[in-house]
C-alpha cells in the first residue's frame, strides 16, 4: 500500500541556516508518527512545509500520491491536511464556538451571494455546523467555554481548542505541533488519550512533542531530527535503545524508558 504522505529529499534553507537537510520518510495511513528532536532541529519548519506555509528549497512532498508543491496553505488544507500551531493561533476576538465553526469552513459551502440574500439552505447549514462544532468542543472537553472569547481561555484549553478546530475540517492528515506544551499533567494525559483516539478513528497523525511519555506510549513510529537531518527512524522500542539518539537528544531523559 502506498503511503499517505511521502517526503522525498526535502531541504529547507533560510539565509545561513539549513533548517531541514535531505529528509526522506513516509507516513502510513491511519498511524501516529511522532517527530522529536532538540529545539531548533527543524520540526516546526517541517510542519510548515507540509502544510504549505513554507515553500521547500528542494525536494518533494507527496500527499496521497500527488505533489503538494506550489500549493498555498489554504489549498493544502483543501486536500485534507489540518494543523495546529506551536504558538497558539486562535481567532482571539471570536468565541470558542465560532473558532470551531471556522474549522468547518471547508465542510460548508454557502458563499457570499447566498448568504447575503439568505437563500434557502443558508440557515440550515449554519445550524448544522453549529451542532457539529458543539459536539467537537465536547469531545475535547471544553464545552463549558463555548461562548467565551478564545483569547480569554487558559492556555491548556486554547491548545485543545486548536485541536478541535483542526478536527472540524475532517482532515485525513493532522499535524500537531507540541499540543501538550504548557499543559499540566492531567491535561497532558487527556490530550494523549484524545490523540490516541484519533488514530483509532482512522485519522493519520503527525505529532511533534517533547513529552517523551506521550511520544513513547502513543506512536507507531518515531522520527528523530537533529540539526535538520534524520538521525533515527523506527518504532518506540528501537528509538529508545538507539545510541545515536541517546547521545544527541534523550541524554539524561533515559529515565523515561
Amino acid at each position: 500500500m502506498a503511503a499517505l504522505l511521502q517526503i522525498k529529499n526535502l531541504n529547507k534553507r533560510f539565509s545561513g541556516v539549513q533548517a531541514i537537510f535531505d529528509l526522506s520518510f513516509e507516513v502510513t495511513q491511519g498511524t501516529i508518527t511522532s517527530i522529536i528532536g532538540p529545539n531548533g532541529a527543524g520540526k516546526t519548519t517541517l510542519i510548515n512545509m507540509i502544510s504549505g506555509f513554507f515553500r521547500p528549497s528542494d525536494g518533494d512532498i507527496l500527499f496521497n500520491g500527488e505533489p503538494l508543491s506550489g500549493l498555498k496553505a489554504h489549498q493544502v488544507a483543501t486536500r485534507g491536511i489540518a494543523r495546529t500551531f506551536q504558538t497558539v493561533e486562535l481567532f482571539g476576538r471570536m468565541t470558542v464556538l465560532e473558532n470551531v465553526m471556522l474549522g468547518c469552513h471547508l465542510k460548508s459551502r454557502k458563499g457570499l451571494v447566498s448568504s447575503a440574500f439568505r437563500l434557502p439552505g443558508v440557515l440550515r447549514e449554519e445550524a448544522d455546523i453549529k451542532t457539529r462544532s458543539l459536539s467537537l468542543i465536547e469531545t475535547v472537553g471544553i464545552a463549558e467555554y463555548a461562548s467565551m472569547k478564545a483569547a480569554n481561555l487558559p492556555l491548556g484549553e486554547q491548545k485543545l481548542l486548536e485541536v478541535a478546530r483542526a478536527l472540524a475540517g475532517e482532515p485525513r492528515l493532522l499535524l500537531l505541533d507540541e499540543p501538550a506544551a504548557g499543559l499540566n499533567e492531567v491535561e497532558t494525559q487527556k490530550a494523549a488519550e484524545m490523540i490516541m483516539g484519533l488514530g483509532e478513528r482512522g485519522v493519520t497523525v503527525i505529532l511533534v512533542e517533547h513529552d517523551m511519555k506521550i511520544v513513547m506510549s502513543i506512536s507507531e513510529k518515531i522520527l528523530v531530527l537533529n540539526h535538520g537531518a534524520k538521525i533515527a527512524e523506527g518504532p518506540p522500542a528501537s528509538i529508545r535503545r538507539d545510541p545515536g539518539v541517546i547521545k544527541a537528544y534523550l541524554g539524561d531523559e533515559e529515565s523515561y524508558s
Partner: protein, 325 residues
C-alpha cells in the same frame, strides 16, 4: 471590536423597527416649517449609509482601508447619468450597469493589491480614485468635463415617476434598508465569519482553508457595488452631476462615517452617515467657523470613544442599566 452576534430573527426585528422609524420621520419633520427640509437631508443620509455600509464591511470585517470609495460613487453616478441621457436607457439599466462596472473595477484594482500582505489597498485605491477623477474631468465628450451635465431623468417605479422628494425618500431608504439587511446577513454567516477570522489571524485562517485573497477581493467588490448604487441614486435625485462630489475628500468623509459610527458595526456606519450628513447643516450658522467646529466634534468622538458612536451608546446603556438595579 466584534460585537456578540444577535440571533438572526432579532436582526430582522431591529431592521423592521428601524424601517418604521424611517417611514414616519418625514411626517414628523413636516410638522414644522423649520425642519421640513430635513427630509432632503435624510435622502443624503440614506445615500451615504449605502456607501458607508460597503466600506464598513471592508474596514471593519476585512481590516482593509479604501481611500477610493468616492470613485465607485462617481462610476455609479456617471454610468446612470450617461446611459440615461445619451442613450435614453432606463435608470434601472443605468443603476445595474454602474454596479457591474464598479464590480469589475474593484476586482481589477483589488486583486493585485490584496494579494500582498499589508495596506497596499489604501495606496491602490488612492491612485484609482485620482485616475477616475481625472477621467471625469478630462473626457469632456462623455462626461461634460468640469461643468458636468444635467437633465438626468427620474427613476420610474412600477410605472410611477419618482420625482418628489418624499417619493425619492421612500425609494432610497428602501435601498438603504435592503443594503443594511444584506450587510448584516453577510456579517452573520460563513463569509462574514471568515472575514473576521482573517482579521484575527491570517495564519489560522489559511490553516482552516480560507482563501484570504479571494475573501478580501470579494468584500471589496461588494463595497464597490454599494458605492456605485449610492452614486446612481445620487445622480437620479440631484439630476445634475459634475466631478467635485466624487473627489478624494468624499472618500475620506465616508471613511470618517465608518470610524465615527464605530468600526466593526454596520449599524454604526448608518449612525456615522447620519451624523456626518446632519452636522454640516447644524453647524451652518457658524459660517466660517463651521469646519473648525466640525473637526473638534469629530476629534472629541474619536478621542473619548475609539469604538465610535456605537461603543459610546452601548457604554451609556450599560450605565443606565446599572443605575436601575
Amino acid at each position: 471590536m466584534t460585537m456578540p452576534l444577535p440571533e438572526k430573527n432579532q436582526t430582522v426585528t431591529h431592521i423592521f423597527l428601524f424601517a418604521l422609524f424611517v417611514a414616519v420621520l418625514p411626517w414628523v419633520f413636516g410638522l414644522s416649517r423649520a425642519t421640513s427640509y430635513y427630509t432632503d437631508v435624510m435622502v443624503f443620509v440614506a445615500i451615504h449609509s449605502i456607501i458607508a455600509a460597503g466600506l464598513s464591511l471592508l474596514l471593519g470585517y476585512a481590516g482593509q482601508i479604501s481611500l477610493g470609495q468616492a470613485a465607485f460613487y462617481g462610476v455609479g453616478a456617471y454610468a446612470s447619468g450617461i446611459l440615461t441621457t445619451r442613450l435614453g436607457l432606463s435608470p434601472w439599466v443605468g443603476i445595474m450597469a454602474g454596479m457591474a462596472l464598479a464590480a469589475g473595477l474593484a476586482y481589477g484594482v483589488g486583486l493585485p493589491a490584496l494579494r500582498l500582505k499589508g495596506h497596499y489597498l489604501a495606496m491602490a485605491t488612492l491612485g484609482f480614485g485620482m485616475i477616475v477623477y481625472i477621467v471625469f474631468n478630462e473626457f469632456i465628450g462623455l462626461t461634460g468635463g468640469p461643468s458636468g451635465f444635467g437633465e438626468i431623468p427620474p427613476i420610474h417605479f412600477f410605472g410611477m415617476e419618482i420625482s418628489s422628494t418624499l417619493g425619492f425618500y421612500y425609494l432610497v431608504w428602501t435601498f438603504a434598508l435592503v443594503v443594511l439587511w444584506i450587510s448584516l446577513n453577510i456579517v452573520h454567516s460563513r463569509p462574514g465569519r471568515a472575514l473576521r477570522a482573517i482579521h484575527d489571524s491570517e495564519k489560522a485562517a489559511a490553516g482552516v482553508g480560507i482563501d484570504i485573497t479571494r475573501a478580501k477581493v470579494q468584500i471589496f467588490v461588494v463595497s464597490g457595488v454599494f458605492g456605485a448604487l449610492a452614486g446612481s441614486l445620487y445622480a437620479h435625485f440631484v439630476t445634475f452631476i459634475n466631478p467635485p462630489p466624487f473627489d478624494i475628500f468624499f472618500s475620506i468623509k465616508v471613511l470618517m462615517m465608518v470610524v465615527i459610527g464605530g468600526i466593526g458595526s454596520i449599524w454604526g456606519a448608518y449612525l456615522g452617515a447620519a451624523l456626518l450628513t446632519f452636522l454640516p447643516e447644524w453647524l451652518a450658522f457658524l459660517e466660517d467657523f463651521d469646519v473648525l467646529a466640525y473637526g473638534i466634534i469629530l476629534l472629541a468622538i474619536v478621542m473619548f470613544s475609539p469604538d465610535g458612536l456605537v461603543g459610546l451608546g452601548s457604554r451609556v446603556m450599560g450605565r443606565i442599566r446599572n443605575i436601575k438595579y
